[in-house]
């Protein structure tokens, strides 16, 4: 009976199944496909190799001085020349790389060792540990880093390692904050609760469920921190505070600076090495971030492939618009007429995935049309194409939409005609959304959000608009309109917010209201009130309504006609009594059979079939 439902439900995961099984390898692959990622990996890799094999590759010891050959230019023995003490620049550069990279790693390691566990604990347990560690972090962050490092150098001597450990401690708050925020965002996820119910110890929960969330940001952060560590360390040494017995890039930079007028190249080489390393680290961090963000750039690729087609169809539609100024004869009296509408999304492989396919219906003034369907049936996409609020990458792949005798999607159009619709939206077509709370801006009072559109659309004064807004709030059954008018969205309940949005939707006296699951987020008792309100307003103002819903009870309560959608297609349309009492299509029958009303309690609902996979 419900073959089509099942096959659709089963088919979906199979389709996505092949692309999504191996997660980590795709990240690495994406990293390697990114030119920035490859470049940075090559640079950092070769520098690391040079550093590792420095003892083999370097022709001289790092401090071997040939006093007879100071500040020499490059030749076959000293390929990059020598410094003021006659030491080989190339050799010192290699040994410097070793020390510089190791110390950067040490710094990042210390910072992670302190910041990561502290952040995990503070984020997961909150409470006192978080409060205390926040104080410590605030103190650490308020310390002037350079002065602390100078003090430590004065106290403990010019060791690279000590100063890098100190810098690691100073910079650990950045890891702490990063980790804590990431952990806080998943601490209350249901799967963490489920693990708690399973009796997993806190440490297992943190290791299994929470650490995976912070892994990626930590890697990105480390790339940046290592770069900063190199810069700080070299800065200290450049000031002459480094250990003169060790070859590091900072010491070389300092040396080069002293002889900048005699041999400018001495300054060039360490500076170049540092620039390459730090730049490589920054690029690597960016590349990893890009690889982790789900960034399949469909739009750009699509444009290239179809540029020619787009141009062709654009010119074609221009022609069409000129010749087809009027709509289909004999249908002008319909408030909205949708004819053979198709909506699709371009995919990475250049094909178009249709979400609405060959849908036709009409709505007259004073009539409520219900569009019913399950998730993924395309009911909201249909509503959004009438509103012209489809996402940017959506394409109208066929059909037309006309509103009150004019095309908003003319034959051949690839997109909704925004120029025409923006004049209609708000004024003649309005919208009641599903989530009342997320559709009110928390930063403005309710009154402001009602008054502004009226001032703009109707061109009336603010006082006039205020009077009307208060009247509207009374009309939608709000007992104390003055108080609601001055309230912020968070100060009212969900049902109240939905009333406010309904007031907003009818404020500019529209001809058509599109309500997308207007009561789904509300409690049942509140839903009944809001349905009463919608019915009363619709009858009084004689407006056309398109009601998108999944609830047949709501349909029975409000609608005159019903259209049933499945997988982007309209399977059945008719008067509410016909469809609810004598559905012709098996899909509609299945849906109605799934209703619990009137069923014997504890009986199987879908018993006729063998247990299918929902």
């Amino acid at each position: 009976m419900s073959d089509s439902v099942d096959s659709a439900a089963v088919a979906a995961p199979v389709r996505t199944g092949q692309s999504g099984t191996v997660v980590r390898s795709t990240v690495v692959r994406r990293l390697l496909r990114n030119p920035m990622g490859i470049a940075s990996l090559v640079i950092l890799g070769s520098i690391a190799l040079l550093a590792i094999f420095a003892p083999v590759l370097a022709p001289f010891e790092e401090n071997f001085a040939n006093i007879t050959k100071t500040l020499a230019p490059a030749d076959s023995v000293n390929i990059l020349g020598t410094d003021s003490a006659g030491r080989d620049t190339w050799s010192r550069l290699l040994f410097g790389a070793q020390l510089t990279l190791l110390s950067a790693l040490l710094c990042a390691g210390v910072a992670i060792a302190i910041g990561l566990p502290a952040g995990l604990i503070a984020g997961y347990y909150a409470g006192k540990f978080e409060a205390v560690s926040n104080w410590v972090v605030s103190i650490l962050m308020s310390l002037p880093g350079l002065i602390v490092l100078l003090t430590i150098r004065a106290a403990f001597g010019p060791s690279v390692w000590i100063s890098m450990v100190a810098f690691g401690v100073l910079i650990s708050p950045s890891y702490f904050r990063l980790t804590r925020t990431a952990v806080q965002s998943v601490r209350n996820e249901l799967y963490v609760d489920a693990a708690r119910v399973s009796g997993l110890s806190d440490w297992s929960i943190i290791a299994r469920h929470i650490f995976s969330v912070v892994r990626a940001p930590i890697i990105i952060q480390t790339a940046a921190i290592a770069g900063v560590a190199i810069a700080i360390q070299s800065g200290l040494e450049f000031l002459g505070l480094g250990d003169p017995t060790k070859a590091t890039w900072g010491v070389m930079l300092s040396e080069g600076f002293k002889n900048v007028y005699l041999t400018p190249t001495l300054l060039l080489w360490p500076a170049l090495a540092m620039a390459l390393t730090i730049g490589g680290l920054v690029l690597l961090g960016n590349a990893i971030r890009d690889a982790l963000e789900d960034g399949e750039k469909i739009k750009h690729r699509k444009k290239k492939v179809h540029a020619a087609e787009d141009a062709a169809s654009a010119s074609a539609s221009k022609v069409a618009r000129k010749t087809l100024a009027a709509v289909e004869a004999g249908t002008e009296h319909h408030l909205v007429k949708v004819t053979n509408l198709g909506v699709g999304y371009p995919q990475a492989d250049g094909s178009i995935k249709k979400v609405v396919d060959d849908v036709s219906f009409h709505v007259d003034r004073g009539e409520i049309l219900g569009i019913v369907g399950e998730s993924g049936s395309g009911k909201s996409q249909t509503a959004f194409s009438i509103l012209g609020l489809l996402p940017d990458n959506a394409r109208i792949v066929g059909g037309t939409i006309q509103f009150d005798g004019n095309y908003t999607v003319a034959p051949g159009d690839e997109r909704v005609n925004q120029a025409r619709l923006s004049k209609l939206r708000g004024k003649r077509i309005s919208y009641i959304p599903q989530e009342p709370m997320s559709n009110l801006d928390p930063a403005f009072t309710i009154g402001y959000q009602l008054v502004t559109p009226m001032v703009r659309v109707l061109g009336i004064s603010k006082d006039e608009a205020r009077k009307r807004a208060l009247k509207l709030l009374t009309d939608v059954g709000i007992v104390n309109p003055e108080r609601t008018f001055n309230a912020y969205p968070h100060e009212v309940s969900g049902g109240m917010a939905q009333r406010v949005l309904i007031a907003g939707a009818i404020s500019c006296e529209p001809d058509l209201v599109i309500a997308d699951e207007p009561t789904t987020a509300l409690d049942v008792t509140v839903q009944a009130d809001v349905l009463d309100l919608l019915r009363e307003l619709q009858q009084r103002l004689n407006i056309g309504v398109i009601l998108v819903t999944h609830n047949f009870g709501v349909v029975a309560d409000l609608c005159d006609r019903v259209a049933v959608m499945q997988n982007g297609r309209l399977v059945e349309e008719g008067s509410v009594r016909d469809i609810l009492r004598n559905p012709k299509e098996p899909y509609t029958q299945t849906l109605l059979a799934s209703m619990l009303e009137g069923k014997t309690p504890m009986s199987m609902l879908v018993s006729s079939q063998k247990e299918p996979v929902a």
């Binding site: 489920a194 299945t590 309690p601």
Partner: protein
């Protein structure tokens, strides 16, 4: 494996499986020295073996909190929760680990109740591993579970995002069943699902109860769902239970004004009967309004 078998031959018992006496749950207020927020007041419920207690109420009525308190996820301020004769109101994590063999949960949102980074097999094996089951045995049990909830066995190596909402909820149910528990707290397990999917998942819950004799504490805002699956129903309103009794009575002929409102507020899928119900509802609201006015006048 052994742990599961032990459960099945556990000593058979008399008296209810779960008893909640005068339960109070308060959340400390964020503000300094402010009064704590009282989420539950004086809750008394019992659930017998193989029985389903439906818990219905509007958002913010405390029905989810009650489920979480039983699971140890909400702070018990007063009263007592007894499971199989043991007081579990303040069970430690170690006690919880033992308890998790008998007490499990299915959450509302199948999209956030499964860790997106773990394969289905790993998710299902987690509770088994906690109880110290060996890998091979755990793997066998995971296959059984997938079969029990009607998922293909190749699901083991796939990630949650490859499945639809209904399938994910099946995974969540399989996880709850892993240790053959005696009580499953179901927190709005079908609210996020499509109508036809909801019907199949409800069938699955009923079938599992028939096969294993598990008890459910079934939390839902939908009176129709609760009527369909429950033996007894408790109605919550503002953190209190205002009415409880056999499902037939509470969901068809309720006594409390709120339950009466709730019953008539849920629309039926027929225009003419719905019109009748709407009229009934308006009449009821008028009567209740008059009653409150009279009560106000008397007081």
């Amino acid at each position: 494996m052994s742990t599961v078998e032990v459960n099945e031959i556990a000593p058979l018992p008399t008296g209810p499986l779960l008893t909640v006496d005068n339960l109070v749950v308060e959340y400390p207020s964020k503000k300094f020295r402010a009064k704590p927020f009282r989420a539950l007041t004086d809750i008394n419920i019992t659930i017998g073996r193989g029985e389903t207690l439906g818990l219905v109420g509007e958002s913010g009525s405390g029905k989810t909190t009650l489920g979480r308190a039983v699971l140890g996820l909400a702070p018990v301020t007063g009263g007592k929760i007894t499971f199989e004769g043991k007081d579990i109101s303040h069970a430690t994590r170690r006690q919880r680990r033992t308890l998790s063999r008998d007490l499990q949960v299915v959450f509302q949102d199948p999209y956030t109740s499964l860790n997106p980074a773990l394969e289905i097999g790993a998710i299902l094996a987690e509770p088994l591993g906690v109880q110290g089951m060996e890998q091979a045995a755990a793997k066998k049990r995971v296959k059984e579970l997938l079969d029990q909830v009607g998922l293909p066995s190749d699901a083991i190596h796939r990630l949650p995002r490859e499945f639809s909402g209904g399938q994910r909820q099946r995974v969540a149910i399989a996880r709850a069943l892993a240790l053959s528990p005696k009580l499953i707290v179901c927190d709005e397990p079908v609210s996020a699902l499509d109508l036809s999917t909801q019907a199949r998942v409800l069938d699955l819950f009923l079938q599992i109860q028939k096969d294993t004799g598990v008890s459910y504490l079934f939390v839902s805002h939908d009176l129709d769902v609760v009527r369909h699956i429950s033996h007894r129903v408790a109605v919550m309103y503002h953190g209190e239970i205002v009415e409880q009794g056999p499902a037939e009575v509470v969901t068809r002929d309720p006594e409390h004004p709120y339950t009466q409102r709730l019953l008539l507020a849920s629309p039926v899928p027929d225009p003419d009967r719905q019109e009748q119900r709407r009229a009934d509802r308006h009449r009821l609201l008028d009567i209740q309004r008059q009653q409150t006015e009279q009560a106000g006048a008397l007081a």
